[in-house]
Amino acid sequence: MSTAVSDQMVEKSFLQALNDAIAFSMRNDFRVIVLGEDIAGGAGQGTPLEGSMGGTFGVTKGLLEEFGKDRVRDTPISEAGITAATVGAAMAGLRPVLDLMWASFAPNCFDQILNQAAKLRFMSGGQAKIPLVIRMAVGGGLRAAAQHSDTLYPLFTHLPGLKVVVPATPAEASGLLIASINDDNPVVFLEHMALYRTTGLVPVNHEAMSLGKLGVLRPGTDLTIACVGQAALLGIEAAEILAIEGIDAEVISLRTLQPLDLDGLVACVSETQRLVIVEESPPRCSVSADIAASISELLFGHLLAPIGRVNSAATPVPFSPPLEDAYLPSVAKIVNKCKVVLSAV
């Protein structure tokens, strides 16, 4: 373990990768604290520190035991108050990592995100420094219905002053979360719930990935499938199906929506000349629209087909399983869209 660790990889779950990344960052920097509703959970009841919940999904499990109550704080259900507090704490010298549970609760603290975190540095002419990571679970598939399943990717991406991160794999979860905690700006870190139990190889040395570089998850020459977060897993499945039919699709994880690696994307699509974008959000003013607009402009005349977009339906997220399935992007929808894009001359 002591030499040449840099190339070493270890298999772990997305959830464990996040947990390790936070613990690593906390060990390295005493200013890093974590807080949120139930992120320690039940601490102080019964045998001290036992049975703590570690957040709804367990991402912060064990941190309380290692770092103590001052650095691992359960909070009341007060999204506005706790978010404001982390913004203030960041301006005053800490590097908080806030867990908001579900992104659907972020509207409760949208003032603090939009008017405070995103703007204070600018309004103060560069005086404020806000090293803050706001983690949220996003997305559908759990039958959690309309008020627990939003991704809100486009809402955050629209706001200058925020960085927006959407890991798709355990390696990305690790590298991007470490980078986000190291970053001196407010970062919205969006974890799709369907990813927590997925596994993959992660560098043991906790290397930061740079924010603003996409990842090519699968090389391919016939068309590019650019994916937001968890959609990349669907993209890969779709590519595998297409491969059976002799179609060689490139699959991209965008990794960060702000900054967006537009150069990287242009480079990829210049080669394939066909693009499908996959995003689990309703279509209007979405990330897929954003990218489609930019690529259409930058590669005008070089694309062989209209850009295909696979989004969620233009509805709130329904509860009923068949409706939710119809609402969500799916492998089948991606395959179909790719075929449409490939069939265009």
Binding site: G81, A144, A145, F319, S320
Partner: protein, 319 residues
């Protein structure tokens, strides 16, 4: 003290809710109920005391733990169960599920999965009633956890300055998920916060049905005659996990056990017995009735039609 008749009737109603919820827990275990559910076990006195004294046209807003409120407000079982299974015959045609169950025809303006989400809606419903002078009142149920949401503060202030016909019912079960109220809440009686809004606030033992009934009666009548809002903090210990399936590893065993020892249904049963009521027949009567209803509701729900995916966009806009 409330009458035997009222106590007996309320006991039946509480038992109905308990049996419904216990059944939901069992059925959930079978794995075919989508999503997650939170049951009202232990809190029955609150919904029953309040809703049994409301008119059908009165309006309530509920929480993620809303089955009890629905049943007490007169919502039918079959379409409730169908909703839990996401079927087209559900109250919300399968769009909402347990956390968003609603029945506007019974004045249930919806469970709300945003903690604190229903509070302001009820204030608005009361504003409508006051403006339209139609005599309706509104009640909002919410948890101790929700009491730390800012919208409660704003809503209490609004209700107070406009003297709205609304009752704030804080269901303090001592926990918000894994977070004890003693940790998260800066005051031992949440009801004391009402004074900051010139609203009468009362803390009640919600394991004592009679006390709960009287508190609800006073609040409802204040609202009805135009004297404005009341804040009731209904205290009881959480008997079950936060959601069905929650093992409560974070919770002290003794505290859990004690919680079960002060069960309102057991206590009411004793109270009725001590007043000479034949509780055994009431229980078996109620059980017989509801078990049949539940059997057929669960069967029907499981066999019910799914919503058509062609109608995915049907209820986004009203036209």
């Amino acid at each position: 003290m409330i009458s035997i008749k009222t106590l007996e009737q309320s006991f039946r109603e509480m038992l109905r809710i308990r049996l419904f919820e216990e059944r939901v827990r069992r059925e959930f275990g079978k794995g075919d109920m989508p999503g997650f559910v939170h049951v009202y076990v232990g809190a029955e006195a609150i919904a029953v005391a309040v809703c049994s004294q409301l008119e059908k046209t009165d309006m309530i807003t509920s929480t993620h733990r809303g089955h009890g409120h629905c049943l007490a407000k007169g919502v039918e079982i079959a379409p409730m169960v169908a909703e839990l299974y996401g079927r087209e015959s559900g109250l919300c045609h399968g769009r909402g599920g347990s956390m968003h169950i609603a029945d506007f025809s019974k004045g249930v303006l919806g469970a709300n999965a945003i903690v604190g989400g229903g509070i302001g809606l009820a204030v608005g419903a009361a504003l409508a009633a006051q403006t339209l002078k139609d005599g309706r009142i509104a009640v909002t149920f919410f948890g101790d956890g929700a009491s730390n949401q800012g919208v409660l503060h704003e809503s209490m202030n609004l209700a107070s300055i406009w003297k709205l016909p609304v009752v704030f019912v804080c269901e303090n079960n001592g926990w918000a998920e894994s977070t004890p109220a003693s940790y998260s809440t800066s005051v031992s009686d949440i009801a004391t916060r009402a004074a900051g809004y010139s609203i009468p606030g009362v803390a009640v033992d919600a394991t004592d049905y009679g006390a709960m009934h009287i508190a609800a009666e006073q609040a409802i009548s204040r609202a009805r005659v135009g004297d404005g809002p009341t804040f009731i903090e209904a205290k009881f210990p959480r008997q079950v996990g936060h959601y069905v399936g929650d093992g409560e590893a974070y919770r002290n065993r003794d505290e859990r056990k004690n919680a079960r020892d002060s069960d309102v249904i057991a206590k009411t049963r004793l109270a009725l017995e001590s007043r000479g009521v034949d509780v055994i027949s009431i229980v078996s009567e109620t059980e017989n009735l509801i078990i049949k209803e539940l059997d057929s509701a669960f069967d029907a729900a499981r066999q019910g039609k799914w919503p058509s995916t062609d109608e995915l966009e049907k209820y986004v806009y009203s036209s």
